[in-house]
Symmetry: C2
Subunit: 186 residues, 2 copies
Protein backbone atom coordinates (compact mmCIF):
# COMPACT_ATOMS: atom_id res chain seq x y z
CA UNK A 1 0.00 0.00 0.00
CA UNK A 2 2.07 2.86 -1.31
CA UNK A 3 0.67 6.22 -2.13
CA UNK A 4 1.78 8.28 -5.05
CA UNK A 5 4.09 10.56 -3.16
CA UNK A 6 3.48 13.51 -5.43
CA UNK A 7 6.85 14.02 -7.03
CA UNK A 8 7.15 13.81 -10.80
CA UNK A 9 3.42 13.81 -11.11
CA UNK A 10 3.40 14.95 -14.71
CA UNK A 11 5.97 12.43 -15.70
CA UNK A 12 4.26 9.70 -13.78
CA UNK A 13 1.00 10.33 -15.52
CA UNK A 14 2.67 10.36 -18.92
CA UNK A 15 4.39 7.10 -18.12
CA UNK A 16 1.10 5.62 -17.11
CA UNK A 17 -0.37 6.67 -20.43
CA UNK A 18 2.19 4.51 -22.17
CA UNK A 19 1.24 1.49 -20.05
CA UNK A 20 -1.45 -0.95 -20.90
CA UNK A 21 -4.59 -0.72 -18.83
CA UNK A 22 -6.37 -3.77 -17.62
CA UNK A 23 -9.97 -3.74 -16.53
CA UNK A 24 -10.82 -6.27 -13.87
CA UNK A 25 -14.18 -7.12 -12.46
CA UNK A 26 -14.81 -7.52 -8.77
CA UNK A 27 -13.23 -10.71 -7.40
CA UNK A 28 -10.96 -11.26 -10.41
CA UNK A 29 -7.28 -11.90 -9.75
CA UNK A 30 -4.33 -9.93 -11.08
CA UNK A 31 -1.83 -12.23 -9.44
CA UNK A 32 -1.99 -15.63 -7.84
CA UNK A 33 0.47 -17.41 -5.59
CA UNK A 34 2.88 -19.49 -7.63
CA UNK A 35 2.96 -17.06 -10.54
CA UNK A 36 5.89 -14.79 -11.25
CA UNK A 37 4.96 -11.19 -10.66
CA UNK A 38 6.39 -9.18 -13.55
CA UNK A 39 4.50 -5.94 -13.17
CA UNK A 40 3.68 -3.21 -10.75
CA UNK A 41 0.00 -2.41 -10.63
CA UNK A 42 -1.18 1.16 -10.40
CA UNK A 43 -4.84 1.49 -9.51
CA UNK A 44 -6.58 4.07 -11.72
CA UNK A 45 -10.05 3.34 -10.39
CA UNK A 46 -11.43 0.76 -8.02
CA UNK A 47 -9.86 -1.13 -5.18
CA UNK A 48 -7.52 -4.11 -4.91
CA UNK A 49 -6.34 -6.25 -2.06
CA UNK A 50 -3.13 -8.22 -1.63
CA UNK A 51 -3.24 -11.26 0.62
CA UNK A 52 -1.60 -14.58 1.35
CA UNK A 53 -2.83 -17.94 2.56
CA UNK A 54 -1.27 -19.46 5.64
CA UNK A 55 -0.63 -23.17 5.97
CA UNK A 56 -4.04 -23.73 7.53
CA UNK A 57 -5.66 -22.09 4.52
CA UNK A 58 -6.62 -18.78 6.12
CA UNK A 59 -6.39 -15.54 4.21
CA UNK A 60 -4.32 -12.68 5.59
CA UNK A 61 -4.64 -9.35 3.90
CA UNK A 62 -1.32 -7.57 3.47
CA UNK A 63 -2.62 -4.40 1.93
CA UNK A 64 -5.50 -2.61 0.30
CA UNK A 65 -4.89 -0.49 -2.77
CA UNK A 66 -7.46 2.14 -3.73
CA UNK A 67 -7.18 4.71 -6.52
CA UNK A 68 -3.70 6.07 -7.16
CA UNK A 69 -1.92 3.44 -5.14
CA UNK A 70 0.73 1.05 -6.32
CA UNK A 71 0.76 -2.66 -5.51
CA UNK A 72 3.12 -5.39 -6.47
CA UNK A 73 4.96 -8.28 -4.93
CA UNK A 74 8.40 -6.77 -4.81
CA UNK A 75 9.85 -10.01 -3.58
CA UNK A 76 8.73 -11.78 -6.73
CA UNK A 77 9.40 -8.91 -9.10
CA UNK A 78 12.82 -8.07 -7.84
CA UNK A 79 14.22 -11.45 -6.86
CA UNK A 80 12.41 -13.28 -9.61
CA UNK A 81 10.80 -15.77 -7.25
CA UNK A 82 7.35 -17.26 -7.61
CA UNK A 83 4.98 -15.08 -5.67
CA UNK A 84 3.34 -16.20 -2.46
CA UNK A 85 0.67 -13.53 -2.70
CA UNK A 86 -2.65 -13.01 -4.38
CA UNK A 87 -3.79 -9.68 -5.76
CA UNK A 88 -7.52 -9.43 -6.31
CA UNK A 89 -10.04 -6.77 -7.22
CA UNK A 90 -12.53 -5.91 -4.49
CA UNK A 91 -14.40 -3.60 -6.84
CA UNK A 92 -14.50 -3.36 -10.63
CA UNK A 93 -11.19 -1.68 -11.29
CA UNK A 94 -8.94 -0.18 -13.93
CA UNK A 95 -5.31 -0.94 -13.37
CA UNK A 96 -2.23 0.30 -15.19
CA UNK A 97 0.36 -2.42 -15.72
CA UNK A 98 3.90 -1.17 -15.36
CA UNK A 99 6.24 -3.93 -16.27
CA UNK A 100 9.59 -4.41 -14.64
CA UNK A 101 11.65 -3.73 -17.75
CA UNK A 102 10.00 -0.35 -18.15
CA UNK A 103 10.93 0.46 -14.58
CA UNK A 104 14.54 -0.54 -15.27
CA UNK A 105 14.65 1.58 -18.41
CA UNK A 106 13.09 4.59 -16.73
CA UNK A 107 15.45 4.29 -13.78
CA UNK A 108 18.34 4.62 -16.18
CA UNK A 109 16.99 7.15 -18.60
CA UNK A 110 14.53 9.40 -16.91
CA UNK A 111 16.10 11.81 -14.50
CA UNK A 112 14.28 11.71 -11.20
CA UNK A 113 12.60 8.43 -11.82
CA UNK A 114 14.91 6.42 -9.65
CA UNK A 115 14.40 8.98 -6.89
CA UNK A 116 10.71 8.53 -7.31
CA UNK A 117 11.05 4.79 -7.16
CA UNK A 118 13.25 5.15 -4.13
CA UNK A 119 10.61 7.16 -2.42
CA UNK A 120 8.07 4.45 -3.10
CA UNK A 121 10.38 1.89 -1.57
CA UNK A 122 10.92 3.99 1.52
CA UNK A 123 7.21 4.58 1.88
CA UNK A 124 6.68 0.89 1.61
CA UNK A 125 9.24 0.21 4.32
CA UNK A 126 7.69 2.84 6.56
CA UNK A 127 4.31 1.25 6.12
CA UNK A 128 5.56 -2.25 6.85
CA UNK A 129 7.40 -1.12 9.94
CA UNK A 130 4.34 0.59 11.26
CA UNK A 131 2.42 -2.59 10.69
CA UNK A 132 4.95 -4.61 12.64
CA UNK A 133 4.85 -2.16 15.52
CA UNK A 134 1.11 -2.45 15.72
CA UNK A 135 1.18 -6.21 15.60
CA UNK A 136 3.84 -6.32 18.31
CA UNK A 137 2.38 -3.87 20.73
CA UNK A 138 -1.20 -2.85 20.05
CA UNK A 139 -4.42 -4.58 21.08
CA UNK A 140 -7.13 -5.43 18.60
CA UNK A 141 -8.95 -2.27 19.59
CA UNK A 142 -5.93 -0.03 19.18
CA UNK A 143 -5.17 -1.50 15.77
CA UNK A 144 -8.74 -0.97 14.67
CA UNK A 145 -8.78 2.63 15.84
CA UNK A 146 -5.58 3.33 13.98
CA UNK A 147 -7.03 1.76 10.87
CA UNK A 148 -10.14 3.91 11.15
CA UNK A 149 -7.99 6.98 11.50
CA UNK A 150 -5.67 6.15 8.63
CA UNK A 151 -8.03 4.61 6.11
CA UNK A 152 -11.58 5.84 6.77
CA UNK A 153 -12.37 5.53 3.10
CA UNK A 154 -11.30 1.89 2.82
CA UNK A 155 -13.28 1.10 5.93
CA UNK A 156 -16.45 2.11 4.13
CA UNK A 157 -15.63 0.23 0.96
CA UNK A 158 -14.64 -3.23 2.12
CA UNK A 159 -16.53 -5.88 4.09
CA UNK A 160 -15.76 -5.79 7.76
CA UNK A 161 -14.32 -9.28 7.65
CA UNK A 162 -11.54 -8.00 5.39
CA UNK A 163 -10.65 -5.26 7.79
CA UNK A 164 -10.44 -7.94 10.46
CA UNK A 165 -8.13 -9.96 8.23
CA UNK A 166 -5.92 -6.93 7.70
CA UNK A 167 -5.79 -6.31 11.45
CA UNK A 168 -4.94 -9.92 12.15
CA UNK A 169 -8.08 -10.71 14.12
CA UNK A 170 -11.26 -12.69 13.45
CA UNK A 171 -14.43 -11.04 12.12
CA UNK A 172 -16.19 -11.94 15.36
CA UNK A 173 -13.54 -10.17 17.40
CA UNK A 174 -13.76 -7.09 15.25
CA UNK A 175 -17.49 -7.02 15.70
CA UNK A 176 -17.06 -7.11 19.46
CA UNK A 177 -14.33 -4.49 19.40
CA UNK A 178 -16.62 -2.18 17.45
CA UNK A 179 -19.45 -2.71 19.86
CA UNK A 180 -17.31 -2.05 22.88
CA UNK A 181 -16.09 1.19 21.30
CA UNK A 182 -19.61 2.37 20.53
CA UNK A 183 -20.90 1.61 24.02
CA UNK A 184 -17.94 3.48 25.52
CA UNK A 185 -18.86 6.65 23.73
CA UNK A 186 -22.49 6.62 24.88
Amino acid sequence: MISNSGIDEHEVSSILKSCSIRKVKKNQFLLKAGEYCKTTFFVETGLLRQFHLDNSGKEHIISFAPESWFVTDRESTYFDNPSTYFIQALEDSEVALINEELIQVLSRELIGFSDFNNRLLHNHIRHLQNRIRLLLSASAEERYLQFVAMYPDILRRVPQAMVASYLGITPESLSRVRRSISTKSI
Copy 2:
Protein backbone atom coordinates in the same frame (compact mmCIF):
# COMPACT_ATOMS: atom_id res chain seq x y z
CA MET B 1 18.42 -6.57 9.44
CA ILE B 2 19.84 -6.53 5.95
CA SER B 3 22.68 -8.70 4.83
CA ASN B 4 25.39 -7.56 2.52
CA SER B 5 24.01 -9.11 -0.61
CA GLY B 6 27.38 -9.76 -2.17
CA ILE B 7 27.33 -7.46 -5.18
CA ASP B 8 29.96 -4.75 -5.43
CA GLU B 9 31.87 -6.27 -2.59
CA HIS B 10 35.17 -4.66 -3.47
CA GLU B 11 33.60 -1.30 -3.89
CA VAL B 12 31.62 -1.65 -0.72
CA SER B 13 34.69 -2.45 1.28
CA SER B 14 36.57 0.50 -0.20
CA ILE B 15 33.66 2.76 0.62
CA LEU B 16 33.65 1.47 4.15
CA LYS B 17 37.33 2.28 4.44
CA SER B 18 36.54 5.90 3.76
CA CYS B 19 33.95 5.94 6.53
CA SER B 20 34.64 6.71 10.11
CA ILE B 21 34.55 3.77 12.46
CA ARG B 22 32.97 4.00 15.85
CA LYS B 23 33.75 1.59 18.62
CA VAL B 24 30.92 1.03 21.02
CA LYS B 25 30.93 -0.92 24.23
CA LYS B 26 28.19 -3.34 25.16
CA ASN B 27 24.97 -1.55 26.07
CA GLN B 28 26.00 1.77 24.53
CA PHE B 29 23.57 3.45 22.16
CA LEU B 30 24.22 4.50 18.58
CA LEU B 31 20.76 6.00 18.23
CA LYS B 32 18.01 6.96 20.63
CA ALA B 33 14.38 7.75 20.00
CA GLY B 34 13.90 11.45 19.38
CA GLU B 35 17.23 11.88 17.61
CA TYR B 36 17.54 12.33 13.88
CA CYS B 37 19.18 9.33 12.31
CA LYS B 38 21.69 10.63 9.77
CA THR B 39 23.74 7.54 9.17
CA THR B 40 23.54 3.95 8.16
CA PHE B 41 25.45 1.65 10.45
CA PHE B 42 27.48 -1.20 9.08
CA VAL B 43 28.57 -3.69 11.72
CA GLU B 44 32.22 -4.66 11.26
CA THR B 45 32.41 -6.70 14.45
CA GLY B 46 30.00 -7.28 17.28
CA LEU B 47 26.24 -7.23 17.46
CA LEU B 48 23.61 -4.51 17.60
CA ARG B 49 19.91 -4.48 18.22
CA GLN B 50 17.25 -2.06 17.04
CA PHE B 51 14.14 -1.70 19.21
CA HIS B 52 11.33 0.60 20.11
CA LEU B 53 9.36 1.30 23.27
CA ASP B 54 5.58 0.99 23.19
CA ASN B 55 3.32 3.32 25.11
CA SER B 56 3.38 1.05 28.15
CA GLY B 57 7.15 1.21 28.17
CA LYS B 58 7.90 -2.26 26.87
CA GLU B 59 10.79 -2.89 24.53
CA HIS B 60 10.16 -4.54 21.18
CA ILE B 61 13.17 -5.64 19.22
CA ILE B 62 12.85 -4.88 15.52
CA SER B 63 16.09 -6.43 14.39
CA PHE B 64 19.43 -7.82 15.38
CA ALA B 65 22.50 -6.83 13.37
CA PRO B 66 25.61 -9.01 13.61
CA GLU B 67 28.82 -8.65 11.58
CA SER B 68 28.40 -7.43 8.00
CA TRP B 69 24.83 -6.29 8.44
CA PHE B 70 23.45 -2.85 7.89
CA VAL B 71 21.09 -1.11 10.29
CA THR B 72 19.50 2.27 10.19
CA ASP B 73 16.16 3.88 10.74
CA ARG B 74 15.23 4.50 7.12
CA GLU B 75 12.16 6.35 8.16
CA SER B 76 14.21 8.92 10.01
CA THR B 77 17.09 9.03 7.53
CA TYR B 78 14.99 9.31 4.43
CA PHE B 79 12.05 11.40 5.59
CA ASP B 80 14.11 13.42 8.03
CA ASN B 81 11.85 12.66 10.97
CA PRO B 82 12.94 12.17 14.53
CA SER B 83 13.53 8.50 15.05
CA THR B 84 11.28 6.35 17.19
CA TYR B 85 13.90 3.64 17.50
CA PHE B 86 16.90 2.84 19.61
CA ILE B 87 20.02 1.17 18.28
CA GLN B 88 22.19 -0.37 20.95
CA ALA B 89 25.26 -2.58 21.11
CA LEU B 90 24.68 -6.02 22.60
CA GLU B 91 28.38 -6.78 22.43
CA ASP B 92 31.44 -4.55 22.16
CA SER B 93 31.27 -3.60 18.50
CA GLU B 94 32.98 -1.77 15.68
CA VAL B 95 30.59 0.04 13.43
CA ALA B 96 31.19 1.90 10.19
CA LEU B 97 29.17 5.10 9.94
CA ILE B 98 27.90 5.77 6.44
CA ASN B 99 26.27 9.13 6.39
CA GLU B 100 23.33 9.95 4.22
CA GLU B 101 25.12 12.50 2.06
CA LEU B 102 27.72 9.94 1.14
CA ILE B 103 24.98 7.60 0.07
CA GLN B 104 23.45 10.32 -2.09
CA VAL B 105 26.79 11.12 -3.68
CA LEU B 106 27.61 7.51 -4.34
CA SER B 107 24.18 6.88 -5.81
CA ARG B 108 24.88 9.57 -8.36
CA GLU B 109 28.51 8.98 -9.07
CA LEU B 110 29.37 5.37 -8.53
CA ILE B 111 27.94 3.11 -11.17
CA GLY B 112 26.20 0.19 -9.58
CA PHE B 113 25.87 1.78 -6.20
CA SER B 114 22.25 2.68 -6.57
CA ASP B 115 21.58 -0.88 -7.69
CA PHE B 116 23.33 -2.06 -4.60
CA ASN B 117 21.31 0.26 -2.45
CA ASN B 118 18.17 -0.87 -4.22
CA ARG B 119 18.98 -4.42 -3.41
CA LEU B 120 19.37 -3.54 0.24
CA LEU B 121 15.98 -1.88 0.20
CA HIS B 122 14.36 -4.88 -1.40
CA ASN B 123 16.00 -7.21 1.06
CA HIS B 124 14.72 -5.06 3.84
CA ILE B 125 11.19 -5.20 2.44
CA ARG B 126 11.40 -8.93 2.06
CA HIS B 127 12.48 -9.28 5.63
CA LEU B 128 9.72 -7.03 6.96
CA GLN B 129 7.08 -8.85 4.97
CA ASN B 130 8.22 -12.17 6.28
CA ARG B 131 8.03 -10.77 9.78
CA ILE B 132 4.46 -9.61 9.21
CA ARG B 133 3.46 -12.99 7.86
CA LEU B 134 4.82 -14.70 10.91
CA LEU B 135 3.10 -12.31 13.28
CA LEU B 136 -0.19 -12.73 11.45
CA SER B 137 -0.24 -16.46 11.09
CA ALA B 138 2.33 -18.32 13.14
CA SER B 139 2.14 -19.45 16.77
CA ALA B 140 4.83 -18.60 19.28
CA GLU B 141 6.35 -22.01 18.71
CA GLU B 142 6.40 -21.69 14.93
CA ARG B 143 7.98 -18.26 15.14
CA TYR B 144 10.64 -19.53 17.48
CA LEU B 145 11.45 -22.50 15.26
CA GLN B 146 11.81 -20.24 12.27
CA PHE B 147 14.09 -17.96 14.25
CA VAL B 148 16.26 -20.90 15.27
CA ALA B 149 16.48 -22.00 11.65
CA MET B 150 17.27 -18.55 10.28
CA TYR B 151 19.50 -17.10 12.96
CA PRO B 152 21.13 -19.94 14.91
CA ASP B 153 24.16 -17.76 15.53
CA ILE B 154 22.19 -14.87 17.03
CA LEU B 155 20.32 -17.30 19.22
CA ARG B 156 23.57 -18.25 20.91
CA ARG B 157 24.76 -14.69 21.32
CA VAL B 158 21.81 -12.87 22.86
CA PRO B 159 19.91 -13.41 26.12
CA GLN B 160 16.78 -15.48 25.65
CA ALA B 161 14.59 -12.62 26.78
CA MET B 162 15.70 -10.64 23.73
CA VAL B 163 14.76 -13.42 21.39
CA ALA B 164 11.36 -13.41 23.08
CA SER B 165 11.10 -9.67 22.51
CA TYR B 166 11.94 -10.13 18.83
CA LEU B 167 9.32 -12.85 18.51
CA GLY B 168 6.71 -10.71 20.22
CA ILE B 169 6.19 -12.97 23.23
CA THR B 170 7.17 -12.84 26.90
CA PRO B 171 10.36 -14.46 28.20
CA GLU B 172 8.21 -16.85 30.25
CA SER B 173 6.34 -17.96 27.18
CA LEU B 174 9.54 -18.56 25.27
CA SER B 175 10.86 -20.64 28.12
CA ARG B 176 7.73 -22.79 28.00
CA VAL B 177 7.84 -23.07 24.22
CA ARG B 178 11.41 -24.29 24.41
CA ARG B 179 10.57 -26.84 27.03
CA SER B 180 7.63 -28.19 25.10
CA ILE B 181 9.84 -28.56 22.03
CA SER B 182 12.53 -30.42 23.94
CA THR B 183 10.08 -32.81 25.58
CA LYS B 184 8.50 -33.54 22.19
CA SER B 185 11.77 -34.77 20.77
CA ILE B 186 12.51 -37.16 23.64
